[in-house]
C-alpha cells in the first residue's frame, strides 16, 4: 500500500501539478488586460513602478522560474488585488470557512442522498421509488442560484428562522449547506439506487436471505457496502468541489469562503491569486482521488486481490 501511495505521489501527482502550474502561468498571462488596468487609467510611469514592484517587467521566462522557485518553498506570492495580503494568507483565511460549509453540505448530501436512494432501491418502480427519484431529478435540475434565494425567502424572510446572509451564528450554516448539498444529494440518491439495485440481485444476497438473516442486516451490512461503491468513486472529485467553496452559494449567502476568490481572481487578473487557487484546487482533487482509491480497495475485495 505504501509503495502504491508513494508511486502515485512521485509519478503522477508532482508531474501533474507541474503541468498545471506551467499551463496556468502562461495562460493567465495571455489574457488581455492586466492586474493594473482600470477605468481611470494609470500613467505610464506609475504602471512601470507597479510592474517593477511586482517583478512584472522581467522577461516572462525569468518570472516563470522565479515563481516556480518560490512555489517549491510553498510561497504563492503577494496578491496583486490586495496589496497588503499574500496569496497564502488569503487562502489560509478563506479555506477553513469553505471546508466547514463543504463538510455540512457533504453530510446533508450523504444523509439525504443515501436515504432516498435506499428507499427507492428497495421498492423499485413503486411510489416510494418514483417520488424520491423525481425529487432527485429536480435537485439536479434546480441551480443553486434559484434554490438559495428560494430557501432564504421561505425560511428567513417569511418564517424568520435564519439570517438571510452572513457567517456569524451556527444557524447561518444550514441554508447554505442545503443549497450547496442539494445537487450532490440528488446525484448520490441516483447512484445509491442503481448501485443497490445491482447488488440486491446478486447471488450472495440470495444466500444471505436463504440463511435467514434479518432483512435490515442483509441490506445495511451486505448490500450497502457493495451498493455504495459508485457513490464513493463519485465522492472523490465531489468532496474536493464541495470543500473548496462555491462562487454562487458564497455570493448568495455572503460567506467569506474560497469560492469567490476563484472567480474574482480571474476577473481581476490577479495573476498570483489565480495560480494559487488553481494549484490549491488541483492538490485537493488529487488528494481526494487518492483517498477514494484507498477506500475503494478496502470496500472491494476484488481490487485487493489484483494488488
Amino acid at each position: 500500500m505504501t509503495t502504491f501511495i508513494l508511486k502515485r505521489i512521485f509519478f503522477e501527482t508532482l508531474p501533474t501539478l507541474l503541468i498545471i502550474a506551467t499551463l496556468t502561468f502562461f495562460m493567465v498571462r495571455l489574457a488581455p488586460g492586466g492586474p493594473f488596468s482600470q477605468e481611470k487609467s494609470v500613467t505610464p510611469e506609475i504602471l512601470e513602478n507597479l510592474k517593477a514592484h511586482y517583478g512584472l517587467n522581467a522577461p516572462l521566462h525569468k518570472q516563470y522560474f522565479d515563481y516556480m522557485k518560490n512555489l517549491l518553498r510553498g510561497d504563492l506570492g503577494p496578491s496583486f488585488k490586495y496589496p497588503n495580503r499574500t496569496v497564502n494568507e488569503l487562502i489560509a483565511n478563506a479555506f477553513p470557512v469553505s471546508f466547514e460549509l463543504g463538510l455540512y453540505a457533504l453530510l446533508f448530501a450523504l444523509l439525504v442522498g443515501n436515504a432516498a436512494g435506499l428507499i427507492a432501491a428497495l421498492c423499485p418502480n413503486t411510489k416510494s421509488d418514483y417520488i424520491p427519484m423525481s425529487l432527485a431529478m429536480l435537485g439536479i435540475c434546480i441551480p443553486s442560484f434559484v434554490l438559495g434565494p428560494l430557501l432564504v425567502l421561505i425560511f428567513s424572510l417569511w418564517l424568520g428562522w435564519f439570517s438571510v446572509s452572513g457567517w456569524d451564528f451556527p444557524s447561518d450554516r444550514i441554508l447554505p449547506a442545503i443549497t450547496l448539498g442539494a445537487t450532490y444529494a440528488a446525484y448520490i440518491a441516483r447512484l445509491t439506487r442503481s448501485g443497490m439495485l445491482e447488488i440486491l440481485n446478486q447471488d450472495f444476497i440470495r444466500t444471505a436471505r436463504a440463511k435467514g438473516l434479518p432483512e435490515y442486516k442483509i441490506i445495511l451490512k451486505h448490500g450497502f457496502k457493495g451498493g455504495v461503491i459508485p457513490v464513493v468513486s463519485f465522492l472523490g472529485p465531489a468532496v474536493a468541489g464541495l470543500i473548496s467553496g462555491s462562487f454562487v452559494v458564497e455570493t448568495i449567502f455572503q460567506i467569506p469562503g474560497l469560492g469567490r476568490f476563484f472567480v474574482n481572481a480571474a476577473f481581476n487578473r490577479d495573476y498570483t491569486m489565480v495560480l494559487g487557487t488553481v494549484l490549491f484546487f488541483a492538490i485537493l482533487i488529487i488528494l481526494f482521488n487518492l483517498v477514494v482509491d484507498i477506500i475503494l480497495v478496502w470496500l472491494n475485495p476484488k481490487l485487493r486481490f489484483r494488488e
Partner: protein, 545 residues
Amino acid sequence: MKTYNHDKHIKFSFLLLSVLTLMTPGCRPKIDPVEHGNHKQILHIGNGTEPQDLDPHIVTGVPEHNIISALLEGLVAEDPKTLQPIPGVAEDWEVSPDGTVYTFDLRKNAQWSNGDPVTAHDFVFSYKRILAPALGSEYAYMLYVIKNAKDFHKGTITDFLQVGIKAMAHDILEITLENATPYFLSLLNHYSWFPVHPPTILKHGRIDERGTKWTRSENFVGNGPFVLDTWKINDMIIVKKNETYWDADNVRLNAIHFHPIEDERTEERAFRSGQLHITGSVPLSKIEVYKEKKPDLIKISTFLGTYFYRINVHRPPLNDVKVRRALAMAIDREGIVKNVTKGGQQPAYAFTPPDTAGYTTRTRIPSDIHQAKKLLAEAGYPNGMGFPKIELLYNTSEGHRTLAQAIQQMWKKDLNINVKLLNQEWKVYLDTVKQQNYNIARAGWIGDYVDPNTFLDMFVTDGGNNDTGWSNPEYDQRIREVAKISNFPQRMEHFQQAETILLDQTPIIPIYFYTRVYLIQPNVKGWYENLLDHHPYKYVYLSKK
C-alpha cells in the same frame, strides 16, 4: 420478498430531514442588528466589495473611501450638506494674494489614536510617501497641483526639499502650488491627501514600501473620528469611536460595521431582514417596487458622474463630425432614463453634470431626429444608404446591454443604420478601449472633486483617459489656460468655450448623468445627499424610533 415496512424508512428519513432543518433556529439572535444598532449607536453599512487595502496612498475605490474617511482626517474636512471645506486637522488657513501659497495652522489638540500629536511634519512625510515613485500610488497625480510634485513623482527631481511642501513649525504647514488652483481646498478631501502616522509606517517597512502590514487592525494608527477594530476578509470591517479624536465629543456613533456584500440582491435581502441600515445599491428590478410601496426607504440622489459613449474618431465613417453628431442627436435620452435605466437618472445633453461647482454648460447636443437625418445625408449617407456596419462595444453587464440595445434600435429606426453589439469581459474591454481598437464604446466617468476640470481635462490631446484619438489645439489651449485663472467668471467662461468645442466635435456621446440609488432606514439621521456621495460619519447618528 417485501417483508419489511418501507413506510418506516420514509418516516425515518423525514424525521432526519426535519431534525436537520429544525435543529438550530433557536441559535439565531432574537433581535436584529439594525434594532440593536439603533440602541447602541452602531451603524451597519453595505459597502460593495472587500477593500483592496486601507492605505490612503494605495487604494483607488469607493468602498475604500467609505472606510478610510472614518479612520483618517485631512487638513480640511467637509460640510456634510454642501461639501464646502471646513476646518479639519487645520484650524485655520491663509491664502497668499496670488492664490499659490496656502498656510495651514494645525490644531494643537489633534492626536493620533496612539496619543501622538498630529504635526505638520506628519503631512510632509505623508506627501513625500505618496509621491515616492517606488510606492506605485495610482492617485499620486492628485498632488500634481503642488509645485514640483509632478517632477518629483516622475523622478526628474530627487530632492524633496524642492517640492512645495514645508513644515514651517510643528503646527504650521505651507503648501506652494504650481498655479492658483481655486478648487485646491476641496481636493484636500480626497483620501490621497490624508496623513499617515510616520512611526507606524516605518515600523512596518520603508517609507515607499508597498503592501506592508501597517493597515492591519492590530497595527493601524489613525487620526479620524473612528479607529480600526476588526478586519475579517470578505466578512466585515468594524471601526469604533476614537476617544483621542479632537472632536470626539461631537461623534455620536459608537461603531460602524462595513459589510462587503457584492451581490445587490443579497444586500437587498439583508436590508429587508434588518441586517443593514444603508445599502450600496438597489437591484434594478426592485427600484420600482420600493418607489411604489416603501418610498421612505429608497433614496435617489444625483451624483457627479456621466454615462457616455466614446467614439473612435480615426475610424471611418466616424471620422466625419457630421456622422458623429447625427448619431448623438438621434438618441432619445428622455426615453432612455424613463424606460431603460429607471433609476431617476438625468438625461445628459452635455458632458459635465449640471451645477458642478456653479458651472452648467450652455451648449447642448439636442435630441433632434430631423437634424440628425439631415446631417447623415450631408455626410453622404442619405437615409443610412451605404453606411458601413459599425460595432458598439460595452463591458459585459445586463444594464449596459439593455441600454446598448435601446440605442441600437433608435439608430436603426431613425437613421436606418445597422450597429452590431459587442460585449467583452471588463479587463478585455479596458484593453480594447485603451488600444483604440473599437468604433463606439460605452464609458462612465465619476468626478474626483467638484470642479468642471475633473471632467474636461480628460479630452486634451493624448490625455491618459481620452482614448478617442480626438485632438483639438483650441480645446487644449482653453484647458491649459484655465489652470492659471483664478477669477471665477473668467474660469467658467473658459470651461464653457472648451465644452462647446467638445460637444460640437462630438468625440463622445453623453447619455445620462449618474444617480446613486440606495436603501436607508429612517432611523439614520445626519446623512445628507450630496454630489460626491460623501457622508462624514461624525455627523451621523441613529434615532431609536
